[in-house]
C-alpha cells in the first residue's frame, strides 16, 4: 500500500473526483424533489424513479424531434410535473395521511409505469444528444480534459440548489411549504388551501425528477431499470441526509456519490458496499439523518 501511496495517480484521482461530483449533482437533483415531497406530505413516493425515467424518455423524444436539448429538458420538466400533479390528485389525495397505503400505491404505479414505458420505448438504451457546443471537452487543471456537459451538470445542480433555497426562504410559497412541513393541519386552519399546495409541491418535486432524467440521459444513458436505480439512490440520499431537508439532500448526495465513485475506481469489488455502510452508520448514530429533524 505504501508505494502506491507514494506514486498516487493524481490525474486519475482528479477525474474520479469530478465523476463523483457529477454523479452527486444528478443524485441531488433527483433526491431534492423526493425530499421536498416527503417533507411536506409525508409521502414516500416510490414512483419517483418512474418520474425520472419518464422525463428521460420525453426529453429524448423532444430532443430528437426538435434537435434542441433545451426544449427537451423544458418539455420533460412540464410533462413530468403534470404527471406528478395527476398522481397526487387522482390517487394520493384519496389516502392523505395514510403513509403506508400511499407508499404501496406508488409502488403499484411504478410497476405499471415501468411496463408501459418498456412497451413503448423498448428495452434498448438511448442517449440524449447534446448540441455540439456543449459536447466538447475543456481543459481542467490536474485532470487534463473533462467533458463540458458534465461540468455543466455540476453547475446546473448548484443552480437548482440555490433556486430551491431562494424559493423556500424568500417566497410566499416557500413560507407556506415550511409552515406545512411543521404542521399541515394548523396551516390549513389559517385559511391556506393545503390540498392545492400539495398538488403544486408534488408537481415541483416531480418536475425536478423529470429534468434530472434528461440530464442523466445525456451524460449517462436512458434504459429500463434506471427508474429503480434512481429511486434507490434517492432513498439512500435522503435517509443519509435527512428526510425533508434540502441541504440534507445535498450532503447526502455528495457522500453517497463520492463513496460510490471512489469505491468503484479504487476497490471495484467492494464499490457498492460503501454506500450501504454509510447508510448503516448514519442510521446507527443519527437515525433521523444528518440534517433531519426527529419525528
Amino acid at each position: 500500500m505504501m508505494e502506491s501511496f507514494a506514486e498516487i495517480n493524481w490525474r486519475l484521482f482528479a477525474i474520479v473526483t469530478l465523476n463523483g461530483l457529477t454523479l452527486a449533482s444528478l443524485y441531488f437533483i433527483v433526491a431534492s424533489g423526493f425530499s421536498l415531497i416527503f417533507g411536506l406530505m409525508r409521502v414516500v413516493n416510490m414512483a419517483h424513479g418512474s418520474l425520472y425515467l419518464l422525463g428521460a424518455y420525453v426529453g429524448f423524444e423532444v430532443t430528437e424531434a426538435t434537435e434542441s436539448w433545451l426544449l427537451g429538458i423544458l418539455a420533460a420538466g412540464v410533462v413530468v410535473a403534470a404527471a406528478g400533479a395527476a398522481l397526487q390528485v387522482s390517487i394520493l389525495s384519496w389516502m392523505q395521511g395514510q403513509d403506508l397505503r400511499q407508499a404501496l400505491a406508488t409502488i403499484g404505479v411504478s410497476i405499471v409505469a415501468a411496463d408501459l414505458m418498456l412497451a413503448h420505448w423498448g428495452g434498448s438504451a438511448y442517449q440524449i444528444t447534446l448540441p455540439t457546443a456543449m459536447s466538447s471537452f475543456v481543459p481542467v487543471p490536474v485532470a487534463g480534459r473533462y467533458a463540458m456537459a458534465r461540468l455543466m451538470l455540476i453547475g446546473f445542480a448548484l443552480l437548482i440548489g440555490v433556486g430551491l433555497w431562494l424559493m423556500l426562504n424568500r417566497t410566499r410559497l416557500g413560507m407556506v411549504i415550511r409552515a406545512g412541513v411543521d404542521d399541515r393541519r394548523m396551516l390549513e386552519a389559517t385559511g391556506v388551501n393545503v390540498p392545492l399546495v400539495f398538488v403544486g409541491v408534488f408537481a415541483i418535486g416531480a418536475s425536478l425528477a423529470g429534468m434530472a432524467g434528461v440530464i442523466g440521459g445525456t451524460v449517462l444513458s436512458v434504459s429500463p431499470g434506471e427508474d429503480a436505480r434512481y429511486l434507490l439512490s434517492s432513498l439512500i440520499v435522503v435517509i443519509v441526509g435527512g428526510m425533508g431537508s434540502i441541504p440534507g439532500a445535498a450532503i447526502g448526495a455528495l457522500l453517497v456519490a463520492m463513496a460510490e465513485t471512489y469505491g468503484l475506481a479504487y476497490t471495484p469489488t467492494y464499490g457498492i458496499v460503501y454506500t450501504f455502510a454509510i447508510m448503516v452508520a448514519v442510521l446507527a448514530v443519527r437515525p433521523q439523518g444528518l440534517l433531519g429533524r426527529s419525528a
Binding site: 410566499r172 413560507m175 407556506v176 415550511r178 409552515a179 412541513v181 411543521d182 404542521d183 393541519r185 394548523m186 396551516l187 390549513e188 386552519a189 389559517t190 385559511g191 391556506v192 388551501n193 393545503v194 390540498p195
Partner: protein
C-alpha cells in the same frame, strides 16, 4: 340571515374510530363571549376541532351566521370567518414571527400586520425570531395574532392560558376581553375557571361529550356544590 346566530351547533357527533367523543352537542352563540369549561377528556378540544373542520363529524351541523360550515375543509371554514387558536399554540418553528403574520395578513381589513405590532409591541421586538425561540406567552400572542389576521367573525380558542405564568395569564385575559368588546365572537374553552369567568358572563359545562349545563359566571363561582359535581375542581385551583 340577519337573525341567524353567529354560531349554531346542532346535534354534533364525533367519533375517533370506535370511541364516541361528542354525543350530540347543541349550542348557540352570538357576539358576546361564551366559555366552555369541563374536566379533561370531556370533548372540549374535539368540539373546537370539529367546528374548525379539522376532525370529521359523523352527524349534526355547524352554521356560522346562517351559513353551513360543517363538512367543509378547514381552510374553507377559516375563510368563512372562523379563527382558530389551538391548544398548545402550535406556532410554526420554521417561520419567524414576521413570516407568521405575513402568511395570514392581508393589506386591507380591520386587522393588519401593522396593527398587530402596535397591539403587541413584544412581537414587534421579536419579529425576526423563529416561532420555536419564543416564550410561552409570546407564542400565545403570536397564535392569537395569527387568528386575528384572518379578520374572523368568530374566534375559537382552545385553552389559551394553559402553561402560562400568572402575570402572562392576566395579559391574555385582557386581550381576550378586548377582542370580545370589538364585536368578534369568542368561543373560549378553558380549564382555568377564573379566566373563563373573567372573559365571559355566559358559561357552559361539558361532560362526557355533551353540554351538561348552561350557567353564568356568578353562579359558577358561588356554587361550590355545582363546581364539585361538574368539574371536581374549585375556582382557586
Amino acid at each position: 340571515m340577519a337573525n341567524d346566530p353567529l354560531l349554531k351547533v346542532e346535534d354534533l357527533h364525533v367519533y375517533y374510530g370506535a370511541s364516541h367523543v361528542l354525543h350530540g352537542v347543541t349550542l348557540e352563540a352570538g357576539t358576546e363571549p361564551l366559555s366552555i369549561v369541563g374536566r379533561n377528556g370531556m370533548g372540549k378540544s374535539t368540539l373546537c376541532q370539529a367546528i374548525m373542520g379539522l376532525v370529521p363529524s359523523a352527524r349534526g351541523t355547524v352554521h356560522l351566521g346562517g351559513e353551513r360550515i360543517s363538512g367543509r375543509r378547514a381552510y374553507k371554514v377559516a375563510r368563512a370567518g372562523v379563527g382558530y387558536v389551538p391548544q398548545g399554540r402550535r406556532v410554526f418553528p420554521s417561520l419567524t414571527v414576521d413570516e407568521h403574520l405575513r402568511l395570514v395578513g392581508k393589506p386591507d381589513g380591520e386587522w393588519t400586520v401593522e396593527r398587530i405590532y402596535e397591539t403587541f409591541p413584544r412581537l414587534a421586538e421579536r419579529r425576526k425570531n423563529g416561532g420555536g425561540a419564543l416564550s410561552g406567552g409570546e407564542q400565545q400572542m403570536l397564535a392569537i395574532s395569527r387568528a386575528l389576521l384572518l379578520n374572523p367573525r368568530l374566534l375559537v380558542m382552545d385553552e389559551p392560558t394553559e402553561g402560562l405564568a400568572p402575570v402572562i395569564v392576566d395579559h391574555v385575559v385582557e386581550v381576550l376581553r378586548e377582542i370580545g368588546r370589538s364585536g368578534v365572537g369568542l368561543l373560549l374553552v378553558e380549564q382555568n375557571l377564573t379566566v373563563a369567568t373573567e372573559v365571559s358572563e355566559r358559561i357552559m359545562v361539558m361532560m362526557n361529550g355533551g353540554i351538561a349545563l348552561e350557567t353564568n359566571a356568578d353562579a359558577l363561582l358561588n356554587d361550590r356544590a355545582l363546581r364539585n359535581r361538574y368539574l371536581g375542581v374549585s375556582a382557586e385551583a
